[in-house]
């Protein structure tokens, strides 16, 4: 007697052809350093929106092999500050048409993102976030514990737990997407439009002559360029130093984990800053989980196991049904964090050298918006309105955009 | 007068006790008076204090000094906890050192003291304490400060296999819940 066994969703296949592996030309109009999500999106929008196709995206490792290769894939725009809501909402709007525009399956799924509140003061800061979204016309609902339970039945809303769920903000348009498919979608589209994707090409020096960038030295020789755009996330400080200026970034390990394939028990995204865990269940059935960064600077792409153990204890308090799930795989990435946990974008002290960095733990959701606004900034050689608030000089004026709450870093 | 003070005081764990010495024994031994002393090591002020209490400030963190009246735990390069010293010892010290630079603090109620002893004492502690408790390394007469199940503790290895845990009062109930639960398997043995 064979039982009715549970089978997983079979993902459709990637296309027969992805991208060309051209050899490096001697010069380009624009060089993008870093073929992560943001670098690839930038190249795509340069070509698509501005017809700038004489572009090379240089990647020292393998395409989309950094943070874009491993993250908890959460997408939302219900941030606190107007400036954040601006760029993340632009990104979400782009997400909503992206698969069609780029012509690539990405499993973009607006299944909603719920951010839980666990104490009176936590409730207060989430409520302020909710009202900020209302005036910024960002779709966001307030949920009582009972409403949380209705949307996600596996959440433990009992008042007897150590930090009970007292309420939550919920953005129905938020959700997830499959990070590799997003990256390959952008890469294929950019390659089809004539952009050169060069892997295994490491930038050694950013050449500057009387204050203006003229090109880059790489392990495959010197390449000249009118404009150079930095999109290297955790390695931004290393690049900035090559160009002779400094950025207030610290690179930290950020870990993510997955379980094995399990029956679907969670069809929305749940975040809890106070209890330090975010979780969603991917299309094939694996639980995808993350928490805060490890505590020190690191480029080693690994973190401590105690971070995983604490996160799983918190997860079992919130989701008792996960107790039998297995931890199958853990990763560590390198996220670049600014003092106010907001990105650093736009122009740099070096003419025609542009910076896209500081996305910290929230980079994936910003991929389309960041690429779109950064391409505009590069094309016009001035900061787009969405990018302007994130200039380097905000650290001199003191006009910071403090999104520590959003980054889940216990404030 | 004294009995009013003794009669009306309450300790965080109300003298709770559990288990027995041949498996695992846990017990609160409250109301140890304690002075926390911070002073420049080997300074003249330090020597005066040592004379008043007839003690020696060990100079290496983790070392202790024991006399009839006091147990001195070295918590930091200029930070000692003198268990057994009380307010009138503080008065004698202040009389001896006047305005010289030192910090004398009666912190008797800041922590309570839980004894963990018995055959499986080390194993029970190892369920929540990350530092090395191997008696070859954490010898008798040594103390170590760290975290036991998210609670800040000072562990003093008294006689062989007898551990004195100094835990901050507000963490005492949690520590007790953790230790008594960790002892589950060992109580049955």
């Amino acid at each position: 007697m064979t039982t009715k066994r549970r089978h997983t969703a079979h993902l459709p296949e990637h296309p027969d052809f992805l991208w060309k592996n051209p050899s490096l030309k001697k010069s380009y109009d624009v060089i993008v350093i870093g073929a992560g999500g943001h670098g690839l999106a930038t190249a795509y929008y340069l070509a698509k929106n501005f017809g700038i196709t004489n572009v090379a995206v240089l990647e020292k490792g393998w395409l989309a092999g950094g943070n874009m290769g491993r993250n908890t894939t959460i997408i939302r725009s219900n941030y606190l500050w107007d400036e954040s809501a601006g760029i993340y909402e632009k990104s979400l709007q782009l997400w909503e048409g992206l698969e069609e525009e780029v012509g690539y399956e990405m499993f973009f799924d607006q299944r909603g993102v719920m951010t839980l509140a666990h104490s009176v003061s936590d409730l207060r800061s989430k409520q302020r976030n909710f009202y900020a979204n209302a005036v910024n016309k960002i779709d966001s609902q307030w949920l009582t514990p009972e409403e949380v339970k209705k949307i996600a039945p596996i959440v433990n809303i009992s008042p007897g737990v150590r930090y009970p769920v007292l309420g939550a903000t919920y953005q129905a348009r938020g959700g997830i997407a499959k990070h590799d498919w997003v990256a390959w979608g952008y890469a294929k589209a950019a390659s089809d439009l004539g952009v050169d994707l060069i892997q295994g090409c490491e930038v050694k020096k950013i050449k500057v002559e009387n204050g203006k960038v003229i090109g880059v030295d790489t392990n495959q020789g010197f390449i000249s360029a009118n404009k150079v755009a930095m999109a290297a996330a955790g390695h931004t400080s290393v690049l900035a130093e090559m160009a002779g200026f400094r950025v207030p970034l610290q690179s930290r390990p950020l870990q993510a984990l997955v379980s094995e394939l399990l029956e679907q028990v969670l069809d929305t995204v749940i975040m809890s800053g106070a209890v330090h865990v975010y979780v969603s269940q991917a299309h094939k059935g694996e639980l995808v989980m993350g928490a805060g960064t490890d505590a020190y600077n690191s480029y080693a792409q690994r973190g401590g196991f105690h971070v995983i153990e604490h996160q799983l204890a918190s997860a079992l308090e919130l989701f008792p049904i996960f107790s039998r799930a297995h931890l199958l795989r853990t990763w560590g990435g390198i996220v670049d964090i600014a003092p106010d946990a907001s990105p650093i974008l736009g122009l740099t002290p070096v003419e025609n050298l542009y910076i896209n960095s500081g996305w910290g733990t929230g980079g994936f959701k910003a991929t389309p918006g960041s690429g779109w606004a950064f391409a505009d900034t590069i094309a016009h050689n001035r900061a787009h309105d969405l990018v302007k608030p994130y200039s380097l000089d905000r650290f001199v004026t003191g006009h910071l955009i403090d999104e520590h709450g959003a980054a889940g870093v216990a404030h | 007068m004294m009995d009013n003070l003794v009669q009306n005081r309450k300790s965080p764990l109300n003298n709770i006790e559990l288990g027995n010495k041949n498996t695992i024994y846990l017990a609160e031994k409250p109301f140890a008076t304690t002075l926390e002393i911070r002073v420049k090591p080997n300074s003249s002020t330090a020597k005066k204090i040592e004379k008043v209490l007839k003690i020696k400030f060990p100079d290496k963190v983790g070392q202790t000094f024991k006399s009839k009246d006091f147990t001195v735990l070295t918590l930091g390069p200029d930070w000692w906890m003198v268990v057994g010293a009380n307010l009138n010892h503080e008065r004698k010290i202040r009389a001896a050192i006047g305005n010289e630079f030192a910090s004398i603090v009666d912190s008797s109620a800041q922590r309570t003291f839980v004894e963990v002893s018995g055959k499986y004492a080390q194993s029970v502690l190892e369920h929540g304490f990350e530092n090395n408790l191997d008696p070859k390394v954490f010898k008798t007469g040594m103390c170590v400060q760290g975290v036991l199940s998210r609670s800040p503790v000072i562990i003093y290895h008294g006689p062989v296999g007898v551990y004195h845990l100094y835990v901050r009062a507000s963490f005492a109930q949690h520590l007790w819940n953790f230790l008594s639960d960790a002892a589950t398997e060992y109580l049955k043995k």
Binding site: V247, Y296 | P152
Partner: protein, 93 residues
Amino acid sequence: MLLINCPWCGSRDETEFHYGSQAHIGYPEKPDELTDTEWAEYIFYRENTKGWFAERWVHSVGCRRWFNIWRNTQTHEFGPSYKPFTKQPSRPK
């Protein structure tokens, strides 16, 4: 789980410490004589070195002392730790 050598207590797990990022950043002598840019450098800018990095930790659950230590931020190898205001050992190879 890093094992960090506290100059006073010896080697302990990283969970006993808090991180202080780049070492040897002194509080400016006369803050009011600094330009806003120089003041921003002090408040917000810290090295983010890939490789050997002289950084600060405090043994917050142990002796509660701040100290400096060399660490390779790429391999997590540690060099010597040293007390504040003492001669910095040279950068390990």
